[in-house]
C-alpha cells in the first residue's frame, strides 16, 4: 500500500475531514514546541474517537508506515516530530473532559484535553490536577502522559506518573488495552508505570484517568531576591535541610529575569542576581508555621528583598515571570536551546559555576531557569541562527551542560523527555546493556517499530523473534545500521 492508498483508506474509515494531505496544511504540523527540528508528515489525521485511532493504527500496520502521536504540539524534545513517510496522529479533537468524579477524586479525560482545563473543571468541586508544566494552559494530558511531564509543583506532589491511575491505549498491535483505572494497585506488572513517560513509543493513550487533589486550604507564595545564585542556592538548601518540602521552589538568574521582565513585566526586584519563588500549600495552620521558617532561611542567606504575595493576583504575577520564561527568552535572543538536565540539588552551586565558565569561555550566553527544589535545570542557551557558527557553538555548550549533569550523577532530562533531541545523549547516561534492556520492553509492545520510531534511543534496534532469535539477518542488520539482540 502506498501513501496515497493509505490516505484513501483513512478517509473512508475516519472521514475525509479528519485526514489532511494538503501540503501547506501538513507543513503546519512539521514541528512541535522544539521548532528547530522539522519534518513534514506525509499524512495528518485528526481522530475523534478511540475507534478512529484503532483504524489509523491498523491501517499503518497494514501499510507498514510509522506513526507519531501528537497532542498540542508543545513538547520540548521533539517527541512529536513527524516522519516524512509517516502518519501524524493529532489528538487535539479528542479533548473532552468526560468525567470529574469528585467522590473518587478522579477525572476521566480524552488525551487531547488541556491540562489546565482539567483543573478548571475540577475547581468548583474543590479539586485540582496537580502536575503543572509551564505550558499547562495548552499542553494536553495525552502529551503529559507520554512525556511524564512535571512542573513547578512536582517537588511536593510528584509527576504525571504519580497522578495517572488509568489509561486506555491503542497498542501498536491496534488492540485497545486498559491499564489501571479508578482503583489503586491493579494486579500484574505495572504496565501503566512503564507506559507513562514512554514518549509515544508504546502506543497511543486514548483515555486517561487522573487523580485529583483537594484544592489546598492555604497557599502562600514568597519572592526572594538575592545578589547571586549561590546565595539563593544556599537558601534552598537551608529550607530543605530544615525538613520543609514546599510545593515549589523556583529559581531564575539575572538573564532569565531580564527576559521575563521584557516579556511580561513581572516587576521582580531590581538588581537581583537570582530570584527564588517559594510556594507553600496545605492546611492553613501548617503553612503558616512553615512559611515563617522559609522567610527566615531566605533572610539568613542574604535575600535583599522578600515579597509575599498579598493576593491571587500578586501570586499570579510572581508566577507569570517564571512560567513565561522560556518563550520570553525570545525577547532577548532570536534563537535558543532549552536544556532540561537534572543534578543532585546540593550540586547546584558547583554546576552553576561551571555553566558560567562554559558560557564565559565559549561566548555563548546562558540564561538559567530551574526547579531548584529538585535540581532540574533549564539552562536556556542563546544564539542567533542567522550568524554562521552560532548554532553549532550553542549546541556544543548545550551538550557540555548535559555532560556536567551526568558527571554529577544526574540526568539528561527531568521532564521534557528524550524525544528526538536527546536520543544522542542517552548512551552517555546509560550503558548499551541498559538501553538494550529498555528496548526489550519496546519489542514487547511494538515489535514492528512503527509507534514513534527514532525517538528515545540513539540506535535503531530490531526486535528478534522469541525464543530462538537467530533467523536470517535483516537488511538493516547486514548493512550495520541496526542490530538484533
Amino acid at each position: 500500500m502506498d501513501l496515497e492508498e493509505l490516505a484513501a483508506r483513512l478517509r473512508s474509515e475516519i472521514g475525509a475531514d479528519a485526514v489532511l494531505t494538503d501540503r501547506q496544511q501538513r507543513r503546519t504540523y512539521e514541528c512541535d514546541g522544539l521548532a528547530h527540528y522539522k519534518v513534514m508528515p506525509a499524512i495528518v489525521v485528526l481522530p475523534r474517537t478511540t475507534e478512529h485511532v484503532v483504524a489509523v493504527v491498523r491501517a499503518c500496520i497494514d501499510a507498514d508506515v510509522p506513526y507519531v502521536a501528537r497532542g498540542s504540539g508543545t513538547g520540548l524534545s521533539g517527541g512529536a516530530l513527524p516522519h516524512a513517510d509517516g502518519v501524524l496522529v493529532v489528538t487535539s479533537q479528542m479533548r473532552a473532559i468526560k468525567e470529574i468524579d469528585a467522590p473518587n477524586q478522579l477525572a476521566v479525560v480524552e488525551p487531547g484535553a488541556i491540562n489546565l482545563q482539567v483543573t478548571r473543571a475540577a475547581t468548583p468541586l474543590g479539586y485540582y490536577y496537580a502536575p503543572d508544566p509551564s505550558s499547562q494552559q495548552i499542553c494536553s494530558i495525552g502529551g503529559n502522559v507520554a512525556e511524564n511531564s512535571g512542573g513547578a509543583h512536582c517537588l511536593k506532589y510528584g509527576f504525571t506518573t504519580n497522578h495517572v491511575w488509568g489509561v486506555e491505549l491503542v497498542a501498536p498491535d491496534a488492540e485497545v488495552i486498559r491499564l489501571g483505572g479508578k482503583a489503586p494497585d491493579p494486579p500484574g506488572y505495572d504496565l501503566l508505570g512503564a507506559f507513562v513517560g514512554s514518549e509515544g513509543t508504546l502506543g497511543i493513550a486514548t483515555e486517561v484517568t487522573a487523580r485529583l487533589m483537594r484544592t489546598p486550604e492555604a497557599v502562600r507564595t514568597l519572592l526572594a531576591a538575592f545578589k547571586s545564585t549561590d546565595e539563593a542556592g544556599g537558601a534552598v538548601s537551608a529550607i530543605i535541610g530544615a525538613g520543609v518540602i514546599p510545593a515549589a521552589i523556583e529559581m531564575m538568574d539575572a538573564l532569565a529575569i531580564e527576559a521575563a521582565e521584557a516579556a511580561v513585566h513581572c516587576n521582580y526586584p531590581r538588581g537581583a542576581g537570582a530570584v527564588l519563588i517559594v510556594e507553600l500549600d496545605g492546611p492553613g495552620v501548617e503553612v503558616e508555621a512553615q512559611f515563617a521558617q522559609v522567610e527566615a532561611h531566605c533572610q539568613d542567606n542574604s535575600a535583599f528583598e522578600i515579597r509575599i504575595a498579598a493576593d491571587d493576583a500578586e501570586r499570579a504575577l510572581f508566577w507569570k515571570g517564571r512560567k513565561s520564561a522560556f518563550a520570553a527568552v525570545g525577547r532577548i535572543s532570536p534563537d535558543y536551546i532549552v536544556q532540561d538536565g537534572v543534578i543532585p540539588r546540593t550540586a547546584l552551586p558547583d554546576v552553576l559555576r561551571r555553566i558560567a565558565e562554559l558560557s564565559g569561555s565559549s561566548g555563548v550566553r546562558v540564561a538559567n531557569v530551574f526547579h531548584a527544589g529538585d535540581g532540574n535545570l533549564h539552562p536556556l542557551v542563546l544564539f542567533d541562527a542567522s550568524v554562521p557558527g552560532q548554532a553549532e557553538d550553542a549546541e556544543e555548550v548545550s551538550a557540555a551542560i548535559l555532560d556536567l549533569c551526568i558527571e554529577y550523577g544526574g540526568s539528561i532530562t527531568g521532564e521534557h523527555g528524550v524525544g528526538m533531541d536527546k536520543a544522542k545523549y542517552m548512551s552517555r547516561m546509560f550503558t548499551d546493556d541498559d538501553l538494550d534492556t529498555m528496548q526489550l520492553l519496546r519489542c514487547a509492545f511494538d515489535p514492528s517499530n512503527l509507534s514513534n520510531p527514532g525517538k528515545i534511543f540513539p540506535t535503531p534496534r530490531l526486535c528478534g523473534e522469541v525464543p530462538g532469535r537467530h533467523k536470517g539477518a535483516h537488511p538493516l542488520q547486514k548493512s550495520g545500521l541496526a542490530e538484533v539482540f
Binding site: P103, N104, G126, N148, C154, G158, F159, T161, N162, I177, R178, A183, P184, D185, P187, G188, Y189, D190, G193, A194, G197, R214, S237, I240, G243, V244, G282, P283, G284, V285, E286, A289, V342, P344, R345, T346, H371, D374, G375, S411, G414, E415, G417, V418, M429, F430, D433, D434, L435, D436, T437, M438, L440, L441, R442, A444, F445, I456, V466, P467
Partner: protein, 414 residues
C-alpha cells in the same frame, strides 16, 4: 541429584556462599536444589550467567518474609539469597535521596535515615524484610495515602537479567524521565523479570509531630461518612485507616503529621469531624499490620475510594453468608487486606473470594489472594482476572525468554 558441576560453578563464583539446599530452603513449599548468596551485583550477575548456562530456575530470597506469597512454582533449582548484597551505598541527605543495596533490611535503612531526620515514607508490616523483597512484592502501608506506594518512591533501579546482563534504569535524582521506567515495571514483579540488586529512593523528612485521631463507628456506612468528611476537609492526613475486626466495632484512624503547631490545629479540626474521637501520640496496635498471620489466607482487595464502605459491607456479608470470621483493615485510598482463618475449607475460601471479586469489580477494584495454605492455593484462582495479561506475557518473554525467573509465581502463570 545435584549436578556437582553446577555446584562447583556456583562455588567458583561465591565460594562457600554456594551450597546445596536443605529442608528449609523451599519456596511456597517447593524445595530448591542450591542456595547461593552473592555479595554484589557483579557476583549476582555471574551467578545468573551460570544459571543461564545450566538452565537453572531461580527464585530470589531476601529475608524470606514472603516466600509463601504468590502461586506455587513447578520447580526451583536455585535460591538466590540477596541478604549479603546489603548496605547503604549513598545517603545524600541534602538531596533527600538514598541508594541502597537490595539485601538491606527496611529497618536498617530506616534507622540509618532517621539519624539524618529522614525516612523512606513507607510502612513496613514486616520490618525485617529486605528492600529487594519489599520492592518486588510492592508492599505498602497506611501512609501510602499521602506518600503513594513504592512506585512513587523508587527513582532508580539496578537489576540483573535472566541472562546475567546487568541493567539499570532511572538514576539517583528525583526528577528524571530519561528512558523507560523499569523501576516501576520491576516494582511488584515478584522476581519474574530480573534480580533487583540496588534501588534508589526519594526520601522525606521525618515529621516533627504526629497525632492519631481514632473513633469507633457503628458500621461501614458510618465509616464511609467519616472517611468522606476527612477527605472533604483540609486536614490532609498522612494516613486514613479503617479496621474491621471479624467481630467487634469498626475503627477509623486518622494520622496527622507535620509541625507541632500545625498538627495541633489539624487535630482539633479532625476531632470535630469525628464523633467521640480519641487523640493519641501513638498509632493503635493494629495499625499498618496485615490482619492475616502466617498460615492463614490473606487477601488484598481494592476499590475506588467511594466504594470503600460498600466493600467493607460486602466482606461482612460474605463472612456471614459463608460462616467465616474475616478481619479486614486497610487504607481509605481503596486498599483493604483481609484475613481468613487457616482452618477455613478451601471451597469456602474460594466461594468467599468469588463473592468479593464480584463486589470489588463493581467498584473498579480487584481481589488478589496474597497468601494461602497449600490446599487453598490449589483450589482458588489466586490472582483473578488481569487486564493486559497478553502484554505482560510478551514482556516476560522478552526479558526472560526461557522462563527461569520464579516461573509460575506471578499472574497468569508468568
Amino acid at each position: 541429584m545435584a549436578s556437582d558441576a553446577t555446584l562447583d560453578g556456583l562455588r567458583k563464583v561465591c565460594d562457600d556462599r554456594a551450597r546445596p539446599a536443605d529442608d528449609t530452603d523451599t519456596v511456597l513449599g517447593v524445595p530448591a536444589r542450591y542456595v547461593v548468596a552473592p555479595t554484589s551485583t557483579e557476583e549476582a550477575a555471574e551467578v545468573l550467567r551460570l544459571a543461564s548456562q545450566h538452565g537453572l530456575r531461580i527464585v530470589a530470597r531476601g529475608a524470606g518474609t514472603k516466600l509463601d506469597w504468590g502461586t506455587p512454582l513447578a520447580n526451583v533449582d536455585l535460591i538466590l539469597d540477596t541478604s549479603l548484597i546489603s548496605g547503604v551505598v549513598e545517603h545524600a541527605a541534602g538531596d533527600l535521596v538514598v541508594v541502597v543495596r537490595a539485601g538491606t533490611t527496611v529497618e536498617t535503612l530506616q534507622s540509618t535515615l532517621a539519624e539524618a531526620g529522614q525516612q523512606l515514607a513507607l510502612d513496613t508490616p514486616e520490618p525485617a524484610s529486605t528492600i529487594g523483597g519489599t520492592v518486588a512484592s510492592n508492599t505498602s502501608g497506611p501512609r501510602r495515602l499521602l506518600y503513594g506506594t513504592l512506585r512513587d518512591l523508587v527513582i532508580g533501579i539496578t537489576f540483573v537479567r535472566a541472562d546475567g546482563v546487568v541493567a539499570k534504569a532511572g538514576g539517583k535524582v528525583v526528577k528524571n524521565v530519561a528512558g523507560y521506567d523499569f523501576a516501576k515495571l520491576l516494582t511488584g514483579s515478584y522476581g519474574t523479570l530480573g534480580l533487583i540488586t540496588q534501588v534508589a529512593f526519594r526520601l522525606h523528612p521525618l515529621p516533627a509531630a504526629r497525632r492519631v485521631v481514632t473513633t469507633e463507628v457503628t458500621g461501614a456506612e458510618e465509616a464511609g461518612r467519616v472517611v468522606a468528611a476527612v477527605f472533604g476537609s483540609q486536614v490532609v492526613p498522612t494516613a486514613l485507616e479503617v479496621d474491621q475486626p471479624a467481630d467487634g466495632p469498626l475503627t477509623v484512624a486518622v494520622v496527622l503529621e507535620g509541625t507541632e503547631q500545625g498538627v495541633a490545629g489539624r487535630e482539633a479540626t479532625t476531632a470535630e469531624l469525628l464523633a467521640d474521637a480519641a487523640v493519641s501520640d501513638h498509632v493503635p496496635p493494629w495499625f499498618g499490620a496485615y490482619p492475616f498471620a502466617s498460615g492463614q489466607t490473606g487477601l488484598k482487595l481494592t476499590t475506588e475510594i467511594a466504594g470503600l464502605p460498600r466493600l467493607l459491607t460486602a466482606v461482612r456479608d460474605a463472612a456471614g453468608r459463608h460462616g467465616l470470621p474475616i478481619a479486614t483493615r486497610g487504607s481509605a485510598v481503596g486498599v483493604l487486606y483481609a484475613a481468613l482463618p487457616a482452618t477455613a475449607a478451601p471451597q469456602t475460601v474460594a466461594a468467599v473470594v468469588q463473592d468479593l471479586r464480584a463486589a470489588a469489580n463493581s467498584y473498579s477494584g480487584s481481589v488478589v489472594v496474597l497468601t494461602a495454605p497449600a490446599e487453598v492455593r490449589d483450589r482458588v484462582d489466586m490472582w483473578g482476572p488481569v487486564p493486559g495479561l497478553d502484554l505482560m506475557r510478551r514482556i516476560k518473554d522478552q526479558l526472560d525468554p526461557e522462563q527461569r525467573l520464579a516461573p509460575g509465581r506471578f499472574v497468569g502463570g508468568i
